[in-house]
């Protein structure tokens, strides 16, 4: 992640959980170099909840991978406050470990002493309301429970920044709704910064303090909205619906441009 030059110290202690500066990313494809992300600049303040919204091909997952340090930007720099935790669309829990042991592995790899791991894992399970599921195997859990264990495992990394790559996209609507409430509560309780990627406009508005819309091919920041609707919000609340409609219109406009070539 230390792609930034030592300039970071000069910036007058502007705190940020993540700072993405003029980041571009291109992949070599069959049609030569393909630009996926074009000059993205975005800061996430400590404790802030930001959603990245975009249609297919906007490179939002690519951007998240770059922030997570799984890949390197072609240009620009990314600095984060420590190693971020990452949650995927699939739960990505290890099936050879129980729910509790999955969390303990994250603690172990972070260097938490053996004696403290069990207790900390139980606490995290309680935080995601899965008390008593410590010994459950991954396949014994429902989809919603798996994502909550995955959330607990991500929180076990004790990162200042939680990256979420469409973590609720594969869940049914009822479960997703409940997990939105759950995430809002956990975000408020832990004070972690969240960068949340989604293609679901209402989800973005329901959760975030700030919605960042990316255009597609290449991904550029098209527009940004502050969401001042007080939490707890519901996805069917009128102000959420109203702002969603506005954002959807802009998003549709962005998508239409691609049909015109």
């Amino acid at each position: 992640m230390a792609t930034a030059i030592a300039e970071a110290a000069d910036v007058e202690s502007v705190e940020h959980a993540a700072r993405i500066e003029s980041v571009s990313k291109s992949f070599s494809g069959p049609a030569g170099q393909q630009l996926v992300l074009d000059d993205i600049t975005l800061d996430v303040a400590p404790g802030e909840f930001v959603t990245l919204l975009g249609a297919s091909g906007c490179g939002k997952s690519t951007l998240l991978n770059l922030v997570a340090g799984l890949d390197r930007p072609s240009a620009g720099s990314i600095t984060t406050d420590g190693r971020p935790a990452l949650m995927f669309q699939e739960h990505a829990l290890f099936p050879w470990l129980t729910a509790g042991k999955n969390i303990e592995l994250a603690l172990k790899l972070r260097g938490v002493p053996k004696g403290e791991r069990r207790g900390r894992a139980e606490e995290l399970l309680e935080l995601v309301r899965l008390k008593g599921s410590y010994g459950k195997r991954v396949h014994e859990l429902s989809g919603g429970m798996r994502q909550r264990v995955a959330m607990a495992r991500a929180l076990a990394q004790d990162s200042r920044l939680l990256l979420m790559d469409e973590p609720f996209a594969a869940l049914d609507a009822i479960t997703r709704d409940v997990l939105h409430d759950e995430l809002t509560r956990i975000w408020a309780e832990t004070g972690v910064s969240v960068l949340f990627v989604t293609h679901n406009v209402r989800e973005a508005v329901r959760l975030a303090q700030r919605v960042v819309l990316l255009s597609s091919r290449p991904g550029r920041i098209a527009r940004e909205w502050r969401v001042d609707i007080p939490q707890p919000r519901r996805i069917e609340d009128a102000p959420v619906a109203e702002l969603s409609r506005e954002i959807t219109e802009v998003l549709r406009g962005e998508i239409r441009r691609h049909g015109q070539h």
């Binding site: 995927f88 699939e90 990505a92 290890f94 014994e140 989809g143 409940v178 509560r185 007080p230 707890p232």
Partner: protein
């Protein structure tokens, strides 16, 4: 501002209660309890069918003798004759010796194969150059019958136990290594990415993520490796018999042929089959099923 905060926290607390209950309800609705089937059902589904199959074979066999369809004990001995052969060997105390001679060789050889095949498999799976160099040879060796190795092994090492082990190794090492390679190749990339974000890179990643994720493929390789070990050993024992080597099951078969005792040949064949099945049933199958079940990969109808 203060007032809004208090209303927020109270409404948040009540929502929390409602949310917790809602979640508990969802969890209960979406998980189904799975337990082990009762013992009686296991006996009925798993034990009865093979017992019936063996009984049918015995009845047909006895029928061939009783109805004088095959009336030549040098071609087909009666079940009773073969039974007597077992009884004699048991009473003279040699039956367990035959079995132990072969099993101890087989298992020791298999352990050697394990110790060589595992690091070899890791190397082939993880180092591109090694894979390109010997990967195809390793796969090819699996299709070479290990009997082919007996003549050169006898010439190189002489008629002794080392030659037996050499034949076992040449049969089993490729299976074990290939099993591990395919196990590692099939590790979902998502696990590797998840591992990396948790900080499991390099050796830590191999130990905490790659090896456990590859375990099902590895176990399948071990199972096949045992089958190859056992077959290679029998081939070696049948071809290379020498009084110094002791009498294992392969030698017993060869002795039966030399003595024109068809009941002894049958005894040996039954024992070889029995040991091969028993080891698989007692060691490898339970291990494999345990691993698959704990990962939810075993489909139960």
């Amino acid at each position: 501002m203060a007032s809004t905060e208090t209303t927020e926290t109270t409404s948040d607390a009540s929502a929390k209660d409602g949310l917790g209950g809602l979640e508990a309800g969802l969890d209960a609705l979406e998980t189904t309890a799975v337990g082990r089937p009762p013992l009686r059902q296991t006996l009925l589904n798993k034990v009865l069918p093979p017992v019936v199959a063996v009984a049918v074979v015995l009845v047909v066999w006895q029928g061939l003798i009783s109805l004088k369809i095959v009336d030549d004990p040098t071609k087909l001995p009666s079940p009773a004759d073969v039974g007597n052969e077992f009884k004699d060997a048991w009473l003279s105390g040699t039956l367990l010796d035959y079995i132990w001679t072969s099993i101890s060789r087989g298992l020791l050889g298999f352990l050697f194969a394990l110790a060589i095949g595992t690091p070899l498999g890791l190397l082939v799976a993880r180092v591109k150059f090694v894979r390109a160099a010997i990967g195809p040879i390793l796969s090819g060796l699996q299709s070479l019958p290990s009997v082919a190795w007996v003549p050169p092994a006898v010439i190189w090492l002489g008629l002794n136990n080392s030659m037996m082990y050499a034949v076992i190794l040449l049969g089993a090492v490729p299976s074990i290594a290939n099993g591990l390679v395919s196990g590692i190749d099939q590790v979902p990339p998502l696990f590797l990415r998840a591992g990396r974000t948790l900080g499991a890179t390099g050796l830590k990643g191999a130990w905490h993520i790659v090896m456990p994720a590859a375990l099902p493929g590895y176990l399948a390789g071990l199972k096949q490796g045992w089958a190859f070990s056992w077959r290679s050993l029998m081939a070696a024992e049948i071809i290379a018999s020498s009084p110094d080597l002791g009498i294992g099951l392969g030698a017993l078969l060869e002795n039966g042929r030399n003595a024109s005792s068809m009941s002894m040949v049958f005894e040996a064949i039954i024992l070889i089959l029995f040991v091969g099945i028993a080891i698989d049933l007692l060691i490898f199958s339970p291990l494999e099923r345990w691993v698959l079940r704990s990962r939810g990969l075993l489909v139960r109808n």
